[in-house]
Subunit: 456 residues, 2 copies
């Protein structure tokens, strides 16, 4: 109730904005809807670089691509910040049912998985309906077996089904503690297509390391159907290696503020991606959307009062870019006005969540009005998550906001070979750019202090 009242207060507040006028925001927004910058960035990144896992040659190409693009688009202070990031790479991978009904299976290794021996692991399977059944099993229950977890994921607009399902992807260590020799998890996916979806395996330090892979959704069902008939043997082959000394880079560039250049708004997407697709919606889209929005603001006759800094994060998928950034920017934390990341695909934004609300609303009055024509509403609920790469900043006290994207089909595609330009809807991509451009302009050209609102 309190939140709703505060929300109404935001919407109705009639104090003059310190800056950030609605007509400029509206014009930016409308231009963005037919602008080609984001589309072209995304097409360039997926075509010229393609998949770009940390530690791969493509990650280095992606760094150079980002530096060149930010410079070409007129950003200032363009540079890359290197950090150490041990990395993992897959080799050949396969799986098949050996008996009783020989069939090939679609699998993809989970990030961080140890390899199998070259001849593979050939073992009986045990199929469990969900991750809780792994946890409930007694010690030794899976001795000598390949554990298969067939836990489905729920489709949701806000993506919240992911959290409930992804625990199963982290189950290898718990299975290993109970004797499993390998771990196969149903892809964390809302689709019924066969491409398996990878992701980090979350291997714990306190359990034997066993090979772990994701099965295509139909393949997990297939194994469950077979297992209902009697014993099933599967052969799993995974090759992988680790580069202990590899590096990653956060690449950034700025639209320098005209009045308070040291007050910084940090936004961006992540440059790194998983490898089966071309990293279009995860997260070429976030890179393209935030870069395009900031670039359009940079082309205004007058820059907004405060600086907009686009950070293209170098290691979201395997963690670490946020920590590295926090360590490198400890000295300016107090000047980071607010932070956010675009990392839930390329489909339309439907909602804005702001930092917890308070009395200081100068400059935010036109916000709801600027976003309404895009069918984006301002939520009375505060932003709780704003992207993995800004979690470090968030924990260190930096306020965050989120422009929430429609994730209804995101997890059909995420971390699979289906993540390519073909699934990107240009109109929805540009709706994202329009929302980011209007919002960033209004915040950057205001003096709003989100920390005051948060009582910090």
């Amino acid at each position: 109730m309190r939140r709703i009242l505060i929300f109404v207060a935001i919407a109705c507040l009639s104090a003059p904005a310190a800056a950030g006028d609605l007509p400029t925001a509206a014009a930016l927004r409308d231009r963005a809807l037919s602008d080609s910058t984001a589309w072209n960035l995304l097409e360039s990144l997926t075509t010229e670089i393609g998949p770009r896992m940390v530690g791969s040659p493509a990650a280095l190409h992606a760094r150079d691509w980002a530096l060149a693009k930010l410079k070409a688009l007129g950003f200032a202070n363009v540079h890359a910040e290197a950090f150490a990031k041990p990395s993992w790479a897959r080799g050949e991978e396969s799986a098949e049912v050996l008996a009783p009904f020989p069939q090939k299976l679609a699998v993809i290794g989970l990030g961080g998985s140890v390899p199998t021996p070259p001849q593979g692991i050939d073992a009986p399977i045990v199929v469990l309906k969900n991750y809780d059944a792994v946890l409930a099993a007694r010690p030794g229950a899976f001795k000598g077996k390949i554990v298969v977890v067939n836990q489905p994921m729920t489709r949701t607009q806000d993506g919240s089904g992911y959290g409930a399902a992804v625990v199963a992807r982290y189950g290898a260590s718990e299975a290993a503690k109970r004797g499993a020799v390998a771990y196969l998890v149903r892809s964390i996916s809302t689709s019924d297509t066969r491409e398996p979806h990878t992701g980090s395996g979350g291997f714990g330090p306190d359990a034997p390391k066993i090979p772990a892979a994701a099965l295509g959704v139909p393949d997990a069902d297939l194994l469950e159907h077979m297992a209902a008939r009697g014993p099933v043997r599967v052969r799993l082959k995974l090759a992988s290696f680790v580069r202990p000394n590899s590096m990653a880079w956060n690449v950034s560039g700025e639209i320098v503020g005209s009045v308070k250049p040291r007050d910084v708004i940090v936004v961006g997407g992540h440059l790194d991606s998983w490898d089966p697709g071309t990293g279009a919606i995860d997260d070429g889209a976030g890179v393209a959307i935030t870069t395009a929005a900031a670039k359009m603001i940079g082309q205004l006759p007058r820059h907004p009062r405060r600086t907009i800094r686009v950070v293209l994060w170098g290691s979201e998928e395997t963690g670490g870019s946020g920590d590295a950034y926090l360590a490198a920017h400890k000295g300016e934390l107090a000047r980071i006005v607010v932070a956010a990341e675009s990392d839930l695909g390329s489909d339309r934004i439907y909602r804005l969540k702001l930092p917890p609300s308070g009395p200081d609303q100068r400059g935010l009055k036109p916000l709801a009005a600027a976003l309404a024509p895009l069918k984006v509403f301002v939520s009375p609920d505060p932003a709780m998550h704003a992207g993995s790469d800004v979690e470090g900043l968030q924990k260190a006290g930096v306020p965050v906001f989120s422009l929430d994207q429609d994730a209804t089909r995101y997890f059909d595609i995420h971390h699979s070979a289906d993540d390519t330009m073909a699934v990107v809807d240009r109109e929805q991509l540009n709706q994202n750019v329009a929302a980011w451009a209007a919002l960033l302009y209004l915040i950057a050209d205001s003096d709003v202090n989100f920390r005051a609102k948060m009582g910090k």
Copy 2:
């Protein structure tokens, strides 16, 4: 106009039906909606056999599976009719962009393709927008090049977009005549996912044999995007081999007619499938639907007047089962009342097309009434196509009908790894069974002479 009048005549005709009463048809239909036979058959076939290309060990298993299932479901005269069918099998396949932007590509060899040398073919590409551009090219235009045809397919409810697009899959020979060293075609697919869709390559006798494969839809776009920037080199590796002496089998079983057992209605689906998926919608569904419908009729207290013969065809994907059947059944052609095949997936039926209409409508009066609750209408247009496997019968003068399925999403899946049980909607599958059961019962229990209607 004439057709419409005749259609109205069918619907309104008030002469008493010779047999085939609506209450029995309606009861069959309604039972079918909650029957589990089709679902169980499909689950069994995809789980216990999986993909079953002609000539593979799985094709032999599928034959034995079909014989056992038909017997267990109470069919009479269950047997397999063997015919010679040279077959093709794939080995390891891969493709990648070598320069200027190295990336892996998703490919699958086309049926009948010759292999590449073991080290692959490494050549520059030329990207064409459609198959017409292949035909329009001058002799020698593609000398030393890999031809890439990026022709999209249109989504249609009746599947008619396929015919317009699939010509591109048959383009290798025309490219080879103009000097191409290999041929890559955008998958004949309406989807934007990355699984490539295979199919026969249609290699002509009058052209050099070159390796040919289908690209994932996004991969074809990717190559077009790269080629727009300058020269692109691709390496294609395809392994394959031919079994010149392999066999295939049409498996059949009958619900023997109670009055005119030698008058036969031939229906079925095809047992063989392509190999990347488990052959669920192409065409385990057709096998399951027609078998389940006939089985339910076989369980009636009294069999219909005429015989219903289910033929589970052994070689639809690479042709030949219909010819073999025609050759083996020449002597009874005149007694085949009508033929049809279920081979467009597992989604709902929306329309019935009958043989060309004429004056003899005895027994068909309840037809529209029996199908209407399933939201199936009787088209005024005659059936022109009733499945590849009955084309031989059709050309030999056997009347055909078609129960037209909604193919809106069929070509998202068809001939790709995505063809599994996961995409089958049980309710729609059973709507198919219900329509087939009601229709087959009414036709089989009537004396309608479709040939008279056709003026033959």
